[in-house]
Subunit: 285 residues, 2 copies
């Protein structure tokens, strides 16, 4: 049982991990890739680095720093989170429990480039099988995704309907599924009030709903599944202690919105860690 | 005429200067010494540094970084600020004008160790000659300080009373004054409702008021003189754009309170710079 599991190895998550480690807490930092910063070639405005530094270099330095201070770092991908009574975090390779959790997964876009996509979000395009699956029982379900996250959603959706088609949207399929698979890119979404068809490759498919499970789950995905509040921009809503509406679940960095800057994320990380440490103290009273 | 003058070369001020410089603004960063961070021997929790770094090393790196990006850095001490119509900043060696100003002078303590000192703050102990001098016209004035800041206050106080004694509180006097000087440390403050005596060395001195001008002026000192709001902990009050109640005067870092951590200060600096850039844009409309 960890005191804190932090999901995301960018500036927010790593700073939080470092602070919590120094509060002598048992911390696990789970990271899967480099996130937004990994794509940043030149950083000039992060205080303390005389010369330009690359995003990957800064990220690696942060992780090395965390490891040096004793933080346990796991390179794995989180697939699901349950929160009763403790937080149970399921990754591709394992399962971990913790008293508190911090979401620091950055801001990911899982929108499709398909024509009319934005018009149908909430009108037959859903980001949460466990939230909306029941509504579409025995309906024609389209599921977009190509790897473990999609597989997780598929298992949930099978409880509601037999008629499920996987759309990888042009990506390779990296898991085994027992449902029809369309590998073509999705070009267009069709419907009136709600979605009823999609065009992929040269073909048109009838669907009553399209569930999105592209790539890896984002903070938004986890939030939806856990019932955490999101604002109109899909940012996690936190209070002044960086806690979401779920007791013990904190968040910081790009996934809570605000300035998308390293300095803001590190500040969030420190604030969240201090609040988590206080929360853990009160738990043990 | 500068677009922005930033007072303080720590993480908040330097980050703000870097951001403003990259917004192509004409920026002057004025710093006098190393502040709180200069006394910090070991920093482990500032994101991105694998190994321990010292406070002075981090400060120097920040300044080098700012200079590399084109920020004009001035090592000088600010003595006074006027704000009509632009901000006029007077230092020991010069005078500079700017459209906006940022206070990032950290948190300095100018309290004396003298017995009963805390009991008489606001009861005959004042931090602002220009604010309170008139109240004590023709009274016995004690003025605590030993250098340029004290000299500034002395010139103001001379408008109100001839009876002024300088107390250096054990420090060497580094400016010339035409009033009696007591070099002994102040041991005790005496009085009933308000101050009426102080003990320094073996002697007791009658005073009706004690004006504090120890060391260099702090953010609090400037705030008092400009009429900027302070909270109960003497932190500068800023809005969500990091602007004080004085239009064009911003603040960030330790002097606005909150977490006294590098990551919080750099975050303040970035936020303030972005707000200042927006403010400058609106000025030019």
């Amino acid at each position: 049982m960890y005191d804190a599991i932090i999901i995301g190895g960018g500036p927010a998550g790593t700073t939080a991990a470092i602070y919590l480690q120094r509060f002598k807490k048992k911390v696990l930092l789970i990271m899967k890739d480099m996130g937004a910063l990994g794509k940043t070639a030149h950083i000039d405005n992060y205080y303390g680095f005389i010369d330009t530094i690359t995003g990957p270099d800064l990220l690696n330095r942060g992780i090395e720093q965390a490891k040096r201070l004793g933080v346990e770092v796991l390179e794995d991908e989180v697939l699901s989170i349950d929160n009763f009574p403790d937080f149970k975090v399921k990754t591709i390779n394992g399962e971990y429990t913790s008293k508190t959790l911090m979401m620091a997964t950055g801001k990911t876009q899982t929108r499709l480039k398909a024509k009319n996509f934005n018009n149908f979000v909430g009108k037959g395009i859903s980001y949460c099988a466990i939230c909306d699956g029941f509504i579409y029982r025995n309906k024609k379900i389209g599921l977009v995704g190509n790897k473990e996250f999609m597989e997780e959603e598929l298992e949930i959706l099978k409880n509601f309907s037999e008629d499920i088609t996987i759309f990888t949207n042009g990506m390779d399929l990296s898991v085994k599924v027992d449902k029809p698979v369309v590998l073509d890119e999705i070009q267009e979404i069709k419907g009136n009030e709600v979605i009823n068809q999609l065009v992929a490759g040269d073909k048109t498919y009838d669907v009553d709903v399209l569930f999105m499970a592209v790539g890896s789950p984002s903070a938004t995905d986890f939030a939806l599944r856990l019932g955490a509040f999101l604002d109109a921009s899909n940012n996690l809503v936190v209070d002044d202690q960086f806690m979401t509406n779920i007791p013990g679940m904190f968040a910081g960095g790009d996934c809570i919105g605000g300035l998308l800057q390293i300095v803001k994320s590190t500040s969030d990380g420190a604030h969240a860690a201090i609040a988590m440490n206080r929360y853990l103290k009160n738990m043990n009273k």
